[in-house]
């Protein structure tokens, strides 16, 4: 069957419709991500112009700090990207981060070995993700409701563990959190710590999964907006895929919980309230369609940088930190409207 039939006398004119290489990247699907990158560049330019001075604003140190402060958010947003591409949402991740931190802070003083504690931390996230996935896939509950329930459950369990802030004083844990590679000298010193490495690794692995495996492509297929019908009829595993994206998101939340504990060296039951919304914002700013079916996980990386940069600029400007929320709101609004405009244009 692989030989082209040539004996047929009247070969019909071939159906042609080709886009040249460059044109392909100008198609609407790349517009949101182009917007994201443009926003990032614009903000870097603003920063350079206003605070550049003689030492410069754009420097390895800036990116080092951005990644260090937002490593947990990057991991959360990467997991959220999977869920949003399928057209779902996961509201539980912020509460899971808090729960993981508290469990770590409780287990370590009890003498539980550090590696085991970290594994438990990740598995807590995985379990919550699995729970949401099962609710969504097998009980046909809307992702919003299923993950909202999981959010309340996780937040409630936090209060069961402790209603006070618990400091993490474990030496091994402190060593992991404090370890870093240092570069440069004097005031320009910048470093790479464990959180940054983990976050970037998660991003790379997610990229490979989403773009280079059947599972990853199925994630996109499920998000096409027909309830996974097309994917199902193509003989791919739509249901299993939908379950797995929540497991991935939950696992990422578990990892993010550990990174956040590295960052704060404590566990607290009120941590991460609204953190899931920050993650969603970063994903959307990163060019992933909230309606599902399109987006790039690397865009999510850029989205997190934009998010972090807004905070830096606000701080440098000397404004109150709540101005961050205002600006993120504005950027988010612009991006959602942009997505909408593209969707409307495509339909007409």
């Amino acid at each position: 069957m692989t030989t082209t039939v040539q004996s047929q006398a009247p070969t019909p004119a071939p159906v042609r419709s080709r886009l040249s290489g460059l044109r392909r990247y100008l198609s609407p699907e790349y517009l949101p991500i182009a917007g994201t990158i443009l926003t990032l560049i614009l903000m870097l330019v603003i920063g350079e112009v206003r605070y550049g001075g003689e030492r410069g604003f754009v420097s390895p140190k800036l990116f080092s700090n951005l990644l260090q402060d937002n490593a947990y958010l990057l991991v959360l947003a990467v997991g959220m990207t999977f869920v949003i591409i399928t057209g779902g949402i996961d509201l539980s991740v912020g509460a899971v981060v808090a729960l993981v931190g508290l469990v770590i802070a409780t287990l370590l003083p009890m003498g539980v070995p550090l590696p085991l504690v970290l594994i438990i931390g990740v598995l807590i996230g995985t379990t919550f993700g699995f729970l949401i996935g099962v609710l969504v896939e097998y009980f046909d509950i809307q992702p919003f409701i299923a993950s909202l329930a999981a959010m309340f459950l996780a937040r409630g369990l936090c209060n069961v563990v402790s209603v006070q802030s618990l400091a993490i004083k474990d030496e091994g844990f402190g060593a992991l959190a404090g370890w870093s590679l240092k570069f440069g000298e004097g005031r320009d010193i910048w470093k790479i710590n464990l959180s940054m490495i983990i976050a970037v690794l998660v991003l790379i692995v997610a990229y490979v999964i989403l773009h280079h495996t059947r599972f990853g492509r199925t994630v996109y297929g499920v998000g096409v907006g027909d309830g996974g019908n097309a994917v199902q009829l193509m003989g791919l595993k739509a249901g299993r895929t939908r379950l797995w994206v929540y497991v991935i998101s939950g696992t990422c939340a578990g990892v993010a919980g550990i990174l956040f504990a590295f960052y704060t060296k404590s566990g607290f039951n009120l941590t991460g309230i609204g953190m899931e919304l920050d993650a969603i914002a970063a994903v959307v700013i990163g060019g992933t369609l909230l309606a599902g079916g399109g987006g790039f996980v690397l865009g999510t990386g850029v989205g997190v940088l934009v998010y972090g940069l807004i905070q830096v600029l606000i701080a440098r400007e000397g404004l109150d930190s709540w101005w961050t929320k205002v600006f993120i709101g504005v950027v988010l609004l612009v991006f959602v409207v942009l997505q909408r405009a593209i969707a409307v244009r495509r339909r007409s």
């Binding site: 069957m1 019909p12 159906v15 042609r16 492509r217 996109y220 009829l233 079916g293």
Partner: protein, 514 residues
């Protein structure tokens, strides 16, 4: 041509006594189907006869409740489409069931994509996709998005996907409904190539010409039951239709004669039910004159986009005219919206049944009640008893099946949905009934029913405007035919023995636009 010889060849697929029950409905009842290698087998039947259900049983989408299914002599019970595909059964579904947001290559190859370890080999995948598309004479960039291409090309991608694996059985469910004539020819060439390579092909289409052009064998279903299996060459078309609708083809002719006799030409001095004088709307329809007398059926004929729908939307108030006047029973009237139209006895059944017609999640009763209730207003609910009588009357009169007022409309076949819509408008007892493509996409039995009904309504004095893309149908039903082209009415023909499809085509092709 392969000669279908039942004795010599062994069927690659043999389904026996297949039964599938949905809640409250026996969708399939003991149906047999045999598919032979190197043969094109058409599955025939009206909408709701069980064709789609049978296909979905064969492809593992539905689980069978009874009967056996063997592929290559091995009994199978598929629990999902992937299992059927593994057994060598590939399917192209009625509507393009691919992922528009993925690339062409992915849509063709995903599920059997070339991989190194767990990772997709993109380059290899694009090349293989291009090769598969080339076999169908399609030359498109495999890396482009599926959504960037026309529906016809997407359909070809779906077929390319189905033929990637060396399928033993290829199922094509209405593959030609969105294709142009030239594309159909191309597709048929591909089908013949596959058939000659020994693939068993199951073909479903509403177009009888196409069925006879491509098929070797026919299996006919009616109401979820097997009517018979015949060689295409041995079953004349008329008999096939008879088997499909379960009655003699003569019924069709009766309407034709009935309609033309009932309205003997124009009657002088009768006030038209509705009269449009110079009615128009910029960019939609040029000013036109149109009069419909009581008991008259006026057909609007013209190509898609010629302004048929735009014209009637002005009559019923769906769009507001920018110029001209509208007279109802001889008096000037302004119809500002469809509700005003409805209150004045003008009912408009739109062409887009799914989106502008039925409400799938409501029951048959609720769908029928909708227009009546709207006319009465929110504060005067129709009493349940009155409503039930009304609904029962129309279910019986229009032969809506299943005859269950509590059935959700989305579970009805297309023809029955259309009947529900008709019932909705008839329930308002309109003076003028506007039907925009009332028979599109429905089977021949329901079509006949609807045409007959329209003729009867007119005989009782109702005025009807009838729009259809099928000139044959317009000719059969109408007393007078207004021909449209380029958003103008270019000709008004009085139907008679000397008017046929060529007359309409000629009017479209040659009439000077004034």
């Amino acid at each position: 041509m392969t000669t279908p010889d039942t004795q010599a060849a062994t069927p690659v697929v043999e389904m026996r006594g297949i039964t599938i029950t949905f809640p409250g409905v026996k969708a399939l009842d003991g149906v047999d189907l045999r598919l032979f290698p190197g043969e094109v087998h058409s599955l025939m039947g009206e909408n709701g006869a069980g064709k789609s259900t049978l296909i979905k049983a064969l492809t593992g989408v539905y689980q069978i409740d009874g009967g056996t299914m063997t592929v290559d002599g091995v009994e199978h019970r598929f629990s999902g489409p992937d299992e059927a595909q593994n057994a060598g059964i590939s399917t192209v579904y009625q509507e393009v069931n691919l992922c528009a947001n993925l690339s062409v290559a992915e849509n063709v190859m995903l599920g059997h994509e070339p991989r190194t370890g767990p990772f997709i080999s993109w380059r290899k995948m694009r090349r293989q996709a291009a090769e598969n598309l080339a076999r169908l004479h399609v030359d498109i960039d495999p890396a482009s998005r599926l959504s960037a291409h026309s529906i016809a090309v997407q359909q070809l991608c779906a077929i390319a996907r189905a033929t990637v694996r060396d399928a033993k059985v290829l199922i094509l469910d209405e593959p030609t409904s969105s294709l142009q004539k030239a594309e159909v020819d191309e597709l048929f060439q591909v089908i013949r190539e596959l058939r000659d390579a020994g693939v068993a092909i199951l073909f479903v289409s509403h177009f009888l010409d196409q069925v006879y052009e491509i098929s070797d064998r026919l299996t006919i279903l009616r109401n979820g039951r097997l009517v018979g299996e015949h060689l295409a060459a041995e079953l004349p078309r008329r008999d096939l239709i008879g088997l499909m609708i379960g009655r003699e083809g003569a019924a069709l002719d009766a309407i034709e004669r009935g309609a033309q006799q009932a309205f003997a030409g124009e009657r002088e001095g009768v006030t038209p039910t509705i009269e449009a004088v110079g009615l128009g709307r910029h960019g939609r329809i040029e000013p036109f004159d149109l009069a419909v007398q009581p008991g008259e059926i006026v057909g609007l004929a013209g190509l898609l986009g010629s302004g048929r729908t735009e014209a009637v939307r002005l009559l019923c108030g769906a769009d507001r005219p920018e110029e001209g006047t509208l007279r109802l029973g001889g008096e000037d009237i302004r119809i500002s919206d469809p509700l005003v139209g409805l209150r004045n006895g003008i009912a408009f059944s739109s062409e887009d049944r799914k989106r502008e017609g039925i409400i799938g999640d409501l029951t048959v009763r609720e769908n029928i009640a909708l227009a009546v209730q709207t006319v009465r207003g929110v504060w005067r609910p129709v009493p349940r008893k009155e409503l039930d009588e009304l609904v029962d009357r129309y279910i019986t009169a229009l032969d809506i099946r299943p005859a269950n007022p509590n059935q959700l409309v989305k579970n009805l076949s297309g023809g029955n949905q259309q009947k529900v819509l008709l019932a909705r408008w008839l329930a308002t007892a309109p003076k003028l009934l506007i039907l925009d493509e009332p028979t599109r996409g429905i089977d021949i039995g329901a079509k006949t029913d609807i045409q007959k009904l329209v003729a009867e309504l007119a005989a009782d004095g109702m005025s009807v405007v009838f729009i259809s893309s099928e000139f044959e149908e317009v000719l059969r039903v109408s007393h007078r035919i207004d021909v449209l082209r380029d958003r103008r009415i270019v000709e008004s023909l009085t139907n008679g023995p000397d008017v046929d499809q060529d007359t309409i085509l000629e009017a479209i092709a040659t009439k000077e636009v004034a």
